[in-house]
Symmetry: C2
Subunit: 211 residues, 2 copies
DNA sequence: AGAGATTTGTGATTTTTTTCACGAAGTAGG
DNA sequence: CCTACTTCGTGAAAAAAATCACAAATCTCT
């Protein structure tokens, strides 16, 4: 049975989690895994695991569980893990430069190909394997149509401008660390990572718990 | 008209966003704001804005909108913004040290009070205003009962251990950057920031779009 | 091969979240 | 004060997500 139905957003956002735990099991020499076990590893219920996995075919075996290798391959396939994705990063400040140095991306098939900043002090610096260029040269990325993903780590005032610029040059996925809602064209996906937001959520929890 | 009903999770996660945009409007000298306008700023529909705000009282004015100052104060109150929250950070690697240097937290009332690492090369170093201590001294935080929030930026293998340790010493909110699901006691809240996860989500989108 | 245990796959149900749509309240201008 | 216009607040409806619960498939053990 092929892709039976369209995979819901909620399920899609968990694929990565499943793959991570499945890969871990494989590394440990595992062979099969049950929905209960996978649920424990991912913090989900067994029913949810089964329902999620059922969206992309039926390949579990009653009585024994899911074959790890098979499941891994399906997840890798869905997530396009055989591709290598090229990324442009704009803003080589604290967070930006940390991401440039972060080795975890490369292992996962994500390569930061270009980095830009507006600050003369940062331009020319090399983090990890990338040299920071002047943001005025950002249209360089237009030549390299393999770059579809941008990471934006610029101050809040320039984030919208940067988003508009990179989408003009072929970017269709943006990981935005700037605390602002980016307005982008249809067809462009934005995911926000807002650290203050996360902390304020704690603040809310801590505050309401006290009351 | 007090807290009418319990605020749903989905709404709680947006409070921070509302406050941010409201504060921005206030800085620009705004006075009133309509649900339509606030919807545009937050990327939500006007209906959702009204519904959300209705969870914590009715203070809009038909025909003219919401009073910015009033709304701001309510949101600040809900989010406990008059408090200052103390944080402990464990793992002063790429991301960890970037967070230590990041000035944005302090402005928002979040202060990283202590930082720990296991690596002798990092211990003793000072980032921002915090000096990294030896993780073996982590029980120091038990003395300072004002620290309720931990940021975990350690490698995946040690994350669970660290989580267990800090919760033993009074932490009840954990911001986890490590790509692993932390098992914590009831009453402890974990929020995960998983960068590879976010990128893989893009990978999924890009892959399925191609098909 | 048969009995009992395990585990999947999935309709049905429940819960949560979002959207709709409209009455009521308020504004503005003459 | 009246008319036309805006905008809120919210029940009701719809959509999305999670949970339940159980028949059917498979496994294990003797």
């Amino acid at each position: 049975m092929q892709e039976k139905k369209k995979i819901p957003k909620s399920v899609a956002s968990r694929l990565s989690l499943y793959l991570r735990e499945i890969s871990r099991l494989e590394d440990e020499g595992g062979d099969k895994v049950s929905s209960v076990e996978l649920g424990e590893l991912t913090g989900l219920t067994d029913a949810q695991v089964r329902k999620d996995l059922s969206y992309f075919g039926q390949f579990g075996t009653s009585g024994s569980g899911y074959e790890i290798l098979k499941l891994k391959n399906i997840l890798r396939d869905l997530l396009g893990k055989d591709n290598i994705w090229h990324i442009v990063l704009i803003g080589a400040g604290n967070i930006g430069s940390a991401l440039l140095r972060y080795p975890g991306f490369k292992n996962q098939g994500f390569i930061i190909k270009e980095a830009f900043d507006i600050d003369q002090k940062k331009i020319g610096k090399c983090y990890g394997e990338v040299t920071v260029k002047d943001v005025r040269q950002i249209n360089d990325i237009e030549k390299d149509r393999s770059i579809k993903i941008a990471i934006i780590t610029v101050p809040v005032d320039s984030a919208q401008d940067v988003a508009e610029e990179v989408t003009r040059y072929g970017i269709i996925c943006i990981l935005n660390f700037s605390p602002v809602i980016l307005k982008v064209d249809e067809g462009v996906t934005v995911r926000n990572i807002d650290l203050s937001n996360e902390l304020e959520n704690f603040s809310f929890i801590l505050t309401s718990a006290k009351g």
